[in-house]
């Protein structure tokens, strides 16, 4: 009698709380969805890291190209030397005019020669700036174009379509001096440069991206250094990746949907690349993945 009552009670409670099987199925479905979502997230990360690694490779190559054969370092040193050539020629002319005026015309000729030389070095710097910009532009666009031509890349259940609308910007590393050093045998010029604040912090390296003018009357000439990691003893800085905080962007070379005609005023020593890839997932899901990578050029391997 009692047993019958108990079984009736259990039966009534089961019908009240529902079946276990549907619950188990629900849990299984949720777990499956979660597992799939986890796999999708992992795959997305895999996709992103693959795209990032490709972009990093491209931008590092462009960074290495920037200071190939230490072109930037050479120009920086030559800008400093041309500055000294003009300064010493002016100083000699002043001394000659007071002490040996019969060779004054020769001293004037040598001063004019040094000034012409300084203008040529500056012209070479500006010309090389344009060449470097063009080289970076061509190197990066050709790489990306190659990827686009390769077609769609299938990775697990994602389809990747590399897009050609990249952004490229060149600039320099924030808080990096030039590799050109203060004069050694011209204390007056060094004092002048200190007073004008031409040196980077408390070092003897010149500040980049400013016109380090000579005293009057040669202040009409332009002497502009580029930012470049100097060689410290035997250590030459390699090209390396940078964070966006350390990048000082100066000129946009390529912008998506815009016709850019860049004019580089100075030699760039860092390059920023933004690539865009269309990621298609099942169920008509689509997302554009934007990857930003920045690289510096290699440092200078020369010391004065």
């Amino acid at each position: 009698m009692i047993k019958k009552r108990q079984s009736r009670k259990f039966a009534s409670s089961r019908t009240m709380t529902g079946g276990v099987l549907p619950l188990l199925m629900l849990v299984a479905v949720i777990i499956a969805v979660l597992v799939l979502a986890a796999i999708a997230v992992c795959a997305l990360h895999l996709v992103e890291s693959k795209l990032r690694s490709t972009a990093e490779n491209y931008v590092l190559q462009a960074g290495i190209q920037l200071n190939k054969d230490d072109r930037i370092g050479e120009i920086n040193l030559m800008v400093e030397r041309s500055r000294e050539a003009v300064y010493t020629a002016r100083k000699t002319l002043v001394d000659i005019e007071s002490g040996a005026p019969h060779v004054g015309s020769l001293a004037r000729l040598l001063l004019e020669d040094a000034r012409v030389g300084a203008k040529q070095v500056d012209e070479e710097r500006r010309r090389l700036s344009g060449v470097l910009g063009k080289e970076v532009e061509i190197a990066l666009t050709s790489q990306v174009k190659k990827d686009c031509q390769a077609g769609t890349l299938n990775l697990m259940f994602f389809q990747l379509n590399q897009r050609e609308d990249i952004s490229v910007e060149v600039g320099s590393v924030r808080d990096m001096p030039s590799n050109a050093m203060a004069p050694v045998g011209l204390p007056q010029l060094k004092r002048h440069d200190h007073q004008e604040g031409y040196f980077f912090q408390s070092t003897d390296y010149y500040q980049p991206d400013i016109n380090t003018k000579l005293p009057v009357p040669d202040d009409d000439l332009t002497f502009r250094f580029a930012s470049l990691a100097p060689r410290i003893k035997n250590t030459v800085a390699d090209a390396r990746l940078l964070t966006t905080d350390d990048f000082d962007g100066q000129v946009i070379l390529i912008a998506p949907g815009k016709l850019v005609r860049p004019t580089l005023r100075n030699l760039p020593s860092a390059v920023k690349l933004v690539t865009r890839t269309g990621v298609n997932a099942p169920m008509q899901l689509h997302q554009d993945l934007e990857i930003t990578t920045i690289s510096t050029s290699a440092g200078s391997d020369k010391v004065e």
């Binding site: 050479e74 400093e80 030397r81 041309s82 050539a85 000659i96 002490g99 010309r127």
Partner: protein, 208 residues
């Protein structure tokens, strides 16, 4: 008999060695060998710089480097002082790195040119000519006259051909009874002494 021959041989070698040593001691110093007794020797050594500004369309390459040192060869301490280094693109001065002051002693001064390669190319000859002029004017600014210029045999032509651009016209040595109308007269000779010329300075005749 053998002993006597050996002794005679040894004596001969000894005598030879002593006489060679004596000759060596009497040898004049380098600057004297070059034809004069100079108190100051300013040496310009040119070198073509490889792998710099050699990229396509460079307007300042190839570059020649001219290292300028000075010494007092007749003094015991004849250690050369590195005065400055010049960078030139042929005749065109590009840069200078001054390292020390020009502190010449009293007396006669000679400028000597050498080419590191051993042969003087045209760019090296042009660069040497401009370096000579810069050093010459620096010396004049300190009231030091140049007594003579000694240039390598192989590049005397290249160097002298450039000089008229700065108002220095080369010519033969004038006879003692012929008056010379020139502000500055500098003898130029080759290192071997095989050729002698004179530079006559006429301001305003240079084309730059």
């Amino acid at each position: 008999m053998n002993k006597k021959i050996k002794l005679a041989g040894c004596s001969a070698i000894f005598v030879c060695a002593i006489s060679m040593l004596a000759l060596g001691l009497n040898q004049p110093c380098k600057s004297q060998m070059l034809g004069g007794n100079y108190n100051n020797l300013i040496l310009i050594e040119t070198e073509e710089v490889k792998n710099e500004f050699e990229y396509k369309d460079s307007i300042i390459g190839p570059v020649v480097k001219a290292k300028v040192t000075y010494s007092r060869p007749n003094e015991e301490d004849a250690t050369p002082v590195h005065y400055e280094t010049l960078w030139l693109h042929g005749w065109q001065t590009l840069g200078c790195r001054r390292l020390n002051e020009l502190r010449l002693g009293n007396g006669q001064s000679a400028i000597q040119v050498k080419h590191k390669s051993g042969y003087g190319s045209l760019p090296e000859g042009e660069a040497a000519a401009k370096a000579i002029l810069r050093v010459f004017v620096d010396m004049y600014a300190q009231k030091h006259a140049v007594t003579t210029i000694i240039v390598p045999d192989e590049s005397i032509g290249y160097i002298l051909n450039q000089m008229p651009r700065a108002g220095f016209n080369p010519g033969p040595k004038s006879k003692p009874d012929v008056p010379v109308y020139s502000l500055i007269v500098i003898p130029v000779s080759t290192a071997s002494g095989s050729e002698h010329q004179v530079l006559y300075y006429s301001p305003g005749s240079g084309g730059g």
